[in-house]
């Protein structure tokens, strides 16, 4: 292929003076300033702008309704429709967890319990949210579909102890999941 020599563009006299370009620049920045004051910044609608620039102002405005189905928030424990805790404390999640955030202390279900057939449930179930990396492996590995990543993302605390979610807290966030595996339900 023959070589094509491209000539560099020569600057016109007006461009060499530089002042015109500066004034042009002022117009551009001022246009941005006025646009963002009026809430007309480009992309302000799709980004759910607060009306000032393209920024959403967080605590008042949330992105929650825009979250995708697969969003991975805080890992939680769920109960089934009979109110039984799904977790049978097999500890698979504890062993798969890459940052070792999960700690389970298994406990036996007493014989007089309605779900005695299940045999085990966790006595303690702690997830250390300062360690959790929201990878979702616990959810993937769980044979009982007892642990799920919910869409909660505002995990805050004043101390390390507060950042450890215990069993009660995990069920509180997780709630009930209906109609998954029903292998312990003899009626079905």
């Amino acid at each position: 292929m023959p070589v094509v020599k491209v000539k560099r563009p020569e600057l016109a006299a007006g461009e060499k003076v530089y002042l015109g370009a500066i004034v042009k620049g002022f117009f551009i920045t001022m246009k941005h300033a006025f646009d963002s004051l009026r809430g007309k910044t480009r992309g302000a609608d799709t980004l759910k702008s607060s009306g000032l620039g393209a920024t959403m102002q967080f605590p008042e405005q949330r992105w929650d309704d825009q979250m995708p189905e697969y969003y991975r928030g805080a890992p939680t424990l769920v109960t089934d429709e009979q109110g039984r805790e799904r977790c049978v404390s097999c500890q698979l999640c504890e062993f798969i967890c890459p940052p070792k955030a999960i700690r389970i202390e298994p406990g036996e279900i007493p014989n007089d319990d309605a779900w005695a057939k299940v045999e085990k449930r966790p006595k303690e179930f702690d997830i250390d949210m300062t360690r959790c990396i929201y990878c979702g492996m616990c959810e993937e590995v769980c044979p009982e579909q007892a642990i799920f990543l919910r869409k909660d993302y505002l995990i805050t605390g004043g101390s390390r102890a507060e950042m450890v979610h215990d069993k009660k807290k995990l069920y509180e966030i997780g709630g009930v999941r209906v109609g998954l595996v029903n292998k312990w339900n003899e009626l079905k």
């Binding site: 941005h32 000032l52 102002q57």
Partner: protein, 422 residues
């Protein structure tokens, strides 16, 4: 007793004008800087910090659009560890921040903030020191702040601050001349170096850049409009030089974050850093005040309304000066906003470009401008022939300078790209 009253008035002026007007303008301009730049970049900026009523049991915080943010920043800087690295030269390291902030605050004393207040016959001018060498005093003192920067760069004993300090020196040398030369036309026009008198002249006969009122035999509209041309050139050079003098954005080479980490204040922390910061913004405030005073009418409202404002009085106590003070502050804030707009519009100059702009373009332009201004002022007395000869001379000199400028431009080697290396 007389002496005591005089001293009390001076003390009141120093405290009032420096600590109640100029120093508060520093955090305010920092706030404006952050909010305005945010708006330019389609962001929000600091809009949360306010009075935390919820801590005191209230229902809601008051945020005031984040106006308390600079105070929070200042408090943070106060409470930070004041760390002095072991490798610095301590005495100079401690001296440098003071050398930056003190000159900026000293120059406050010649700026006329308003006309005068007080009872008739016992009026007090709203200027700390009514010096007859106003602009010269400002230049003399303001250029001292470069010593602070250079000293900070050298005493830090570390390479980036050192480069910043050296750059600051070279930048000052390139700009100080243009700065001084650019206002010679203005001083020729006023025939006075007292800033209060200059502002009063502008209040009576029209601002230098807006000469639309107060015409009389000595100050005809034609002569004023003719002088508008050299005045505007002077304004342009002076403003750009003030940008360089205050290390503002297109010329903030001593502290450019992208290449020098933080420039001359890299090794500083806590309040010592804050003093550099304050000095820089105080210099910006004073620079804007100088531009307003010389070119934009200082405290005057214009259009012949200043005599009326000066005459306003409540029960014999003249309050016109306070209104003029408010007008001055409004102009000052507007000009600071302009400074900020420039900072977020114009990219930083390269080092050689800055030197070239200072030495090759502004120096010559300012010199020619002095000639032009003198010609415009003297034309009525000189008669037609001499004026025309002068104008022709001016054109020849300008053309010669332009030719030299072109001839001295280094020839760029033709760029063959990769082919050149074959």
């Amino acid at each position: 007793m007389e002496l005591l009253i005089q001293l009390a008035i001076i003390a009141a002026k120093v405290i009032g004008l420096t600590f109640l007007i100029v120093l508060p303008l520093v955090p305010i301009s920092v706030y404006f800087e952050r909010r305005f730049s945010a708006i330019i970049q389609d962001r929000v900026g600091p809009n949360r910090v306010g009075i935390p009523l919820t801590l005191l049991g209230g229902k809601k915080d008051i945020s005031f659009f984040g106006l308390v943010q600079p105070m929070a920043d200042g408090l943070k800087l106060f409470l930070k560890e004041d760390f002095t690295p072991v490798h610095v030269r301590k005495a100079y390291f401690w001296l440098a921040p003071a050398l930056v902030i003190v000159p900026s605050l000293i120059t406050v004393c010649v700026v006329p903030f308003g006309s005068s207040i007080g009872f008739t016959g016992e009026e007090v001018k709203l200027v700390i020191a009514d010096l007859d060498v106003g602009p010269l005093f400002v230049f003399a003192i303001a250029s001292l702040s470069v010593y602070g920067i250079t000293l900070a760069g050298w005493s830090s004993n570390s390479k980036y601050p050192f480069v910043g300090g050296v750059r600051s020196t070279a930048q000052m040398i390139s700009y100080e001349i243009a700065l001084g030369l650019s206002i010679i036309p203005v001083l020729l026009y006023y025939g006075d170096l007292n800033l209060s008198n200059i502002v009063e002249h502008q209040a009576k006969h029209g601002w230098l850049l807006l000469p639309l009122w107060g015409h009389d035999a000595d100050h005809t509209l034609v002569s004023k409009l003719l002088f508008w041309i050299p005045a505007f050139i002077a304004f342009l050079i002076f403003t750009v030089s003030i940008f360089a003098e205050t290390n503002r954005m297109p010329f903030d080479l001593p502290e450019c974050e992208t290449e020098l980490v933080g420039g001359y204040h890299t090794e500083y922390s806590s309040m010592k850093f804050a003093m550099f910061f304050m000095g820089e913004y105080a210099a910006m405030v004073i620079g804007s005040a100088m531009i307003i005073t010389l070119f934009l009418g200082g405290w005057s409202l214009g259009f012949g309304s200043d005599a009326f404002i000066s005459g306003l009085a409540i029960g014999g106590f003249k309050i016109g000066g306070l209104i003029h003070l408010a007008i001055f502050m409004a102009k000052l804030v507007a000009f600071i906003l302009f400074f900020i707009l420039v900072r977020w519009t114009v990219p930083r100059f390269r080092y050689d470009q800055l030197m070239r702009l200072g030495w090759v373009i502004f120096f010559e332009a300012a010199l020619i401008n002095v000639f032009l201004a003198a010609l415009v002022i003297a034309a009525p007395q000189l008669g037609t022939v001499i004026t025309v000869v002068g104008a022709v001379l001016l054109v020849i000199v300008s053309a010669a300078l332009l030719w030299v400028l072109r001839a001295s431009e280094p020839k760029a080697a033709p760029n063959y790209g990769l082919l050149g290396s074959n």
